[in-house]
Subunit: 272 residues, 3 copies
């Protein structure tokens, strides 16, 4: 299954993981499990210094968590059981990425929303194509708040006023604004983003032994466990409400998780 | 009095509060008291999800705290008595705004200086007209440091080097630089700022029940009471010095709190 | 010696310190000692409110710490002995600048790398010429991580993802990107940077008595001693490795610390 959902290519110290879950790269339970296994495997691979994440889909990096994820209850249970104390299973995905010994880089050429945007925020570095890279925490439009780390990661990156704008405004942000807000490292013209990321990844992979580990240790992210718990409580208080279930059902009926629907999912959700 | 100093309009879950204290919208004791009463009243109004602050004066949002505010000693005593433990009455205004259950948004089309700039910094979100929205913490030119929360709020928003530049440089910042520094959310072309803020306010007001409260709870601002006390001590150590009184008196003689004088108050103060 | 390495000019409350250590302004032990003596002397000078640092060399502000610094072991021992508890001698330089009672301003018209970039980050304010001001933490290319405060100072100024990009990417950053990242206050067109800094320094020096001290006290930087220790441990674990000595030796053979070599030192180091 990993072979299908995640394409892996390793060369010159750089592992490239390509998300491939048509039609819009939803983050399903299967994908989360495959990602977990792959990152665990790579964490013991001394040949790999850098991991670059990209997408096989030109329009979508990761659409968001699969709206039908409860159909995979068994996988969710498995993921929750192995989550660190005090984290829900979605937060555990972000914290797994942040604990990876390699330098993790997102190359964002399409849209990342919800849990996909949280994935981008959890990675060490992120570079977006100026014209096509886009981010959205649109959970509010479904009657919930983000529950996979966004409130914590975004608060590290931008002012509280901008976090509130992102989460409550629930709009799709272009790459230039995301860079202005500190959400990503840089917005780079689409024609140059591959070259930029490839060069940077190669440079980092070629560093003398020990430098990456030392830098990541000194700059290790601080896990504010109370913040994660607070986020989870807020999310849990809303996610099981009838209104949320109703919005999700209607969203699926109106085109969510299809290419056409996802390109304008904020409009679709606001019209429900 | 509220009816005069503050215009209130409520529609579709959005309360609009318009400052109206000619000629330059100084923040007088009366205005602070009226604002306190109005925000207290709105805090219990479940119909209101968003509060947008703007100004009836095209040139000034809030000029600054009234230089003659000591003439309203009775109101000041009343405000100080109801201030939270450890905050002075000006800091209490900012912290009141930050505790408001609604999402607070400043639409900044004119100048906000001193306590007016602190008001902008205390609000959840802030959007400025690119050409005409301007901010200044010009207290240093009167021989004092900001005493209404600026040292704390700005330190959350921008680097220490930029806070020092703002406070000691004491210049009037244009909206683009303010956005670059993280002082405000965005600078928006003047012709588009109404549409932008109206749309955002409407979108937030239309969110499913519970989302705003959950987001504001998880992202509740941290009150560093030691920081507020340190700011207040610094401010108090300077504000009663003869030199400060002399500057304020001469400023009033030279045009402070008139439209012409306030448009270039930094120059006016530096020439004393 | 001070007279040679550091030029001092005091006028109207502003001290200007000009680095002058040809050919590329390396930060030698002698220069660090001279700087320490001069700043100590100035700290007791009530006539000086602002210190502006610039360079006599149009291409380089401070190239980096002298690669041959171990030849000055006696001076290093002296500097280490007087360093505050828990800081190495390089970190002590930055913390000395941060403790200076005056407002410290860097005018960056050339390149600052390594310990020179850490000097820029330690100063209160920093303004770079848009076309020629450049910054790099290129230590990683020598097999080490920064050991003079960069991990701490940069983490105050920009997101963790950008700090990792700066330290592991080890590229030369132009002034515009540095300003976008919060590394410096502003990037200013080269033709205007003198006027801008002179005006700002003069305005700050002219502030009424007590204002600078009060502002610097309220906004005093927080020294995270555990962070400095962690940085020092990471740095120490790498700096004495044979690979690092080999890179430094070859760098010197290939043109490091000459003007031509330093203009492209990242390329030079990557080719070793």
């Amino acid at each position: 299954m990993t072979a299908n959902l995640l394409q892996l290519n390793i060369a010159d110290g750089v592992a490239r993981i390509t998300f491939n879950n048509p039609p819009v790269n939803v983050m399903s339970g299967s994908l989360m499990r495959a990602l977990k296994h792959l990152l665990h495997e790579l964490s013991g691979n001394k040949e790999v210094q850098v991991i670059v994440f990209d997408s096989a889909n030109p329009d979508f990096f990761i659409a968001h968590v699969d709206i039908n994820i409860l159909d995979e209850q068994e996988i969710l249970d498995e993921l929750q059981q192995s989550a660190p104390e005090g984290l829900n299973l979605f937060q555990a995905i972000g914290e797994m990425i942040r604990a990876q010994p390699q330098v993790t880089i997102v190359k964002l050429k399409g849209i990342a929303r919800g849990g996909g945007a949280e994935f981008v925020a959890a990675a060490d570095l992120s570079f977006a194509a100026l014209e096509s890279g886009k981010l959205s925490q649109c959970e509010a439009l479904m009657g919930i708040i983000p529950g996979g780390g966004a409130t914590q990661y975004l608060s590290e990156k931008m002012t509280r006023g901008r976090v509130l704008e992102v989460i409550l405004g629930a709009d799709l942000f272009d790459a230039a604004t995301a860079a202005d807000y500190g959400w990503i490292n840089r917005a780079i013209p689409g024609a140059a983003v591959d070259t930029f990321v490839d060069r940077l990844a190669a440079h980092i992979a070629a560093l003398p032994a020990g430098v990456i580990a030392a830098a990541k240790k000194v700059l290790s992210p601080v896990r504010n466990i109370e913040g994660f718990k607070s986020e989870n409580e807020g999310w849990q208080s809303l996610v099981f409400q009838p209104r949320t279930a109703e919005i999700m059902t209607k969203a699926m009926q109106n085109g969510a998780q299809t290419v056409a629907g996802e390109l304008k999912i904020e409009e679709l959700l606001r019209s429900i």
